[in-house]
Symmetry: C2
Subunit: 371 residues, 2 copies
């Protein structure tokens, strides 16, 4: 986290806007800017509200070998927290209203809308400058098909870091815990405080998480440099492949090969034999996902995934759809329904994948390909 | 097949050499040139020996839907021949000596060496101008890890077309059969003569080939235009994925996604349900291949595949190794042994995959990656 101080971010914003490294946006009358790429040490996702800077959430490096990775990168004891399979938000109070920023730095109309359902907002009364870094995860979210097995309905929020506006660093872990405890903020599961002597214990936790199809751990060093690393389970790669199968042609092909490699490395490094059951689960994830895509194409001439999510305010659902339509790079967003569902509005929409839809159309019509 | 006449190929050769679209080579004192790309309608692989032109073997288009593909592309009855999982050669007699040209147009030292073992060469006495187009396939070949299940040892040759020097067209199927029969040339299995009414029968053949893990069929129209198409089984994709798994990072990632798509399309189009057994076989192909790579890396710090092949003449083995070393784009070729084996010389060599070797080395050392 070597980003420049907030005054420098403000000074460089006009040039960043000019060079299309940052852009201006508006959410319900709230004007702001956000950096859409890493630029001059300003992290992607950094958002600027007037003269307040909310720094982007930094990348966390991934290790694929647990023991070697910890030994290569950690010099002090560290905490192990659960990595949650959701989307990253930073929640800040701007002009008295809490909003949720996406990883990329835009105001997420969905998470912002649902904040009162997801966490106690009292923390902003005592700490108006705080930036709550959290994962929003669950089956009913507008962005991702995969979700943690223990969130069976709607979405939940899991806090994993606290920052402050205008400060490009995390609060130390003990300060974070003090605040999250006092305000009963929902946090990611904590697995303890470890040293490099405890690798066997950490490995046992990882194997348990793997069996439960959970995503993995993030390690956070107890030091000023607050060094981090993440390590994920093998099975979450199978989940990712299943979720991505109908999206085969829109994702970079490396998405698939990377996850295969991570899966085998997890098995090898943790001494898990490649069992027929593991083989079947991998094959099933790939084939059932593709079968589903083909099935949809056969019946409806399009390959799509249906997403659903709930809102407190109807207009936020429309703002989300507008946002997705602008940001979806050729993937078509089609509303199915937006209707009352108890205290909420239930939105259902399809993400229609043009590349696979087009390719299946061509191939089913007998198109000849030269490869 | 709209390539220019041989005189034009000869006229354009100096410019092609100049523009690096063709290159000069030498095989044991025989000088020749070959086109390394399609260029001005001259197909890649076209080779020039003095003033004799051997045209490149044209691409055959692939259909992924059998019935729609045949109906879209065939206007007359057609033959169905088996597609053999090997490497393509064109065999010609130059200055009285038969040589085998690779698809790319270089003289293959392996196939050339083995020609007397693979086919009766008497055909060149009666037809000195003939170009025999064939697949060389089997477990002991220097290029490919996959091979047909019915070739259990060494390699065999399967003729599928005849051309003539200086003529950019195939001999009609009946003329081809007359010559291959008379000279007892080994041919690809023939499945018959069909019309568009016979799709069910062809589908039954494909399903049988699929059960036998054979590659598929090539359809050749009985007409002047001699139109062709190929259609492969689902299972051969699983074989390909198994063979490619340790080569994960050297191949384009689309290699994997394309084969997954072909596999599911074959199942869907032929009404094969996605069974747990199919799932397991796909998962096994991917995971066992990667497990093998990891295992080699753990023991020997390198990921490689061992190839073996037999030669009649020892120097041809050395010429092959030289050729592979020049042509292998960063993949390291390491000789294991070259020794007498009955009437032949047995060559064993490793293809060492630098990308996966390097990546596993980094990751096992705990390298952190940002993705």
């Amino acid at each position: 986290m070597t980003a420049p101080p907030p005054q420098t971010v403000l000074d460089q914003l006009p040039e960043a806007l000019d060079k299309k490294k940052a852009r201006q946006r508006r959410f319900k009358g709230l004007a702001y800017c956000h950096f859409i790429d890493d630029w001059r040490h300003i992290p992607r996702g950094t958002a600027v509200f007037g003269r307040q800077v909310v720094y982007g959430y930094p990348h966390i490096g991934r290790v694929l070998a647990l023991e070697a990775g910890l030994k290569a990168h950690f010099r002090a004891p560290f905490w192990a927290e659960e990595k949650i399979n959701g989307f990253n938000v930073r929640i800040v109070q701007i002009e008295g209203t809490p909003i949720a920023l996406s990883r990329g730095g835009f105001v997420c109309p969905f998470a912002t809308d649902r904040l009162p359902d997801l966490m106690p907002l009292s923390v902003f009364e005592e700490h108006p400058e705080i930036v709550v870094c959290a994962e929003v995860a669950g089956p009913d979210n507008p962005y991702l098909e995969s979700f943690p097995p223990f969130v069976r309905h709607d979405v939940r929020l899991f806090v994993f870091d606290l920052m402050q506006k205008d400060h490009n660093r995390f609060l130390p872990c003990r300060d974070k815990t003090e605040i999250t405890d006092r305000h009963t903020l929902p946090t990611v599961p904590q697995y303890g405080y470890f040293t490099l002597e405890n690798v066997a214990e950490i490995r046992a936790i990882m194997l348990r998480l793997n069996e439960q199809w959970r995503e993995g751990l993030v390690f956070k060093e107890d030091s000023d440099r607050n060094h981090r690393a993440k390590y994920v389970t093998g099975n979450v790669n199978i989940d990712d492949l299943r979720a991505a199968a109908d999206n085969l042609l829109e994702l970079p092909a490396e998405y698939f090969t990377n996850r295969l490699l991570r899966l085998i490395l997890f098995a090898e490094e943790n001494g898990l034999p490649v069992t027929p059951e593991m083989e079947r689960m991998l094959g099933e994830a790939l084939l059932q996902g593709l079968h589903g895509a083909f099935d949809k194409f056969s019946r409806e001439r399009k390959v799509y995934t249906t997403f659903r999510c709930r809102f407190r305010e109807k207009d936020n659902a429309e703002i989300l759809l507008d946002h997705l339509r602008r940001a979806s790079h050729g993937i078509k967003i089609q509303k199915r329904r937006l209707e009352r569902d108890g205290a909420h509005w239930l939105l259902e929409f399809d993400r229609i994948y043009p590349a696979l839809t087009g390719m299946l159309g061509d191939l089913m019509a007998g198109k000849m390909i030269y490869d």
